[in-house]
């Protein structure tokens, strides 16, 4: 059996990459939203509702929500890892962060999907 290397590089590479990919997804979504708003998507409540109900925007919103929650998980987890040293408190914060983010994702997706 190959011995596991416990120290070294690449342990955070996957998260590092995921944080950047989700950032790009969110940046593209932001650009789409800004263009939509400049073309009047937020000029009235009806226009806003119609814009967000559009099939393409709905999928884009879904991808944005998932990206946001994954991105926030990595970022907030890094903050706890940097500043919170006691293992017990850190574990509690990690679990709370994960649970709230999964909850937020469900809530937000449900709002978009109900339209």
């Amino acid at each position: 059996m190959k011995a596991r290397i416990l120290v070294g590089a690449h342990y955070g590479l996957k998260d590092w990459l995921a944080q950047r990919i989700t950032a790009v997804v969110m940046a593209v979504y932001t650009a789409i939203l800004i263009v939509g708003m400049l073309r009047g998507a937020a000029s009235s409540q009806d226009a806003w509702h119609a814009f967000m109900s559009n099939g393409f925007i709905r999928i884009a919103s879904f991808l944005f929500i998932v990206s946001l929650c994954y991105h926030a998980w990595i970022g907030v987890r890094d903050i706890w890892m940097d500043y919170v040293k006691p293992t017990g408190i850190r574990l509690v914060l990690h679990v709370l962060t994960l649970l709230t983010l999964v909850g937020y994702a469900g809530w937000a997706i449900q709002i978009i999907w109900r339209l």
Partner: protein, 131 residues
Amino acid sequence: MPEMTKQRPKYLALHQIRLPLAGFVSILHRISGLGLFLMLPLLIWLLELSLGTTPEQKATFSNVTGSCIVQLILFGLCWAYLHHFCAGIRFLLLDVHVGIEKEQARKSAVGVLVISLGLTVLVAMKFLGVF
């Protein structure tokens, strides 16, 4: 390995360390990210209300977004989003080795601060009906 266990000097007098501008952008990136995370429930709730179809939801939406405190929080969050967005793009460019020279990096740090603040003022003015 005596070298490894040697006590190294620490200098963490935060009030005396002068943070370069790029460091300022970096810590604001972290603070804005945490702020957005903590305020996510408010933002999702407002999204829900903004897309609501019942008269109660519409009334709640105008009441909530009409309150001065909420408006102040929203302008703060708007800045946080824009700063996180601009600083994030700067970091992505630095990752692919664009603008890593000292002078360029300083200029892009200034750019992030100016653009995000400027756009926040524009959004706030639009929201308050100035133009």
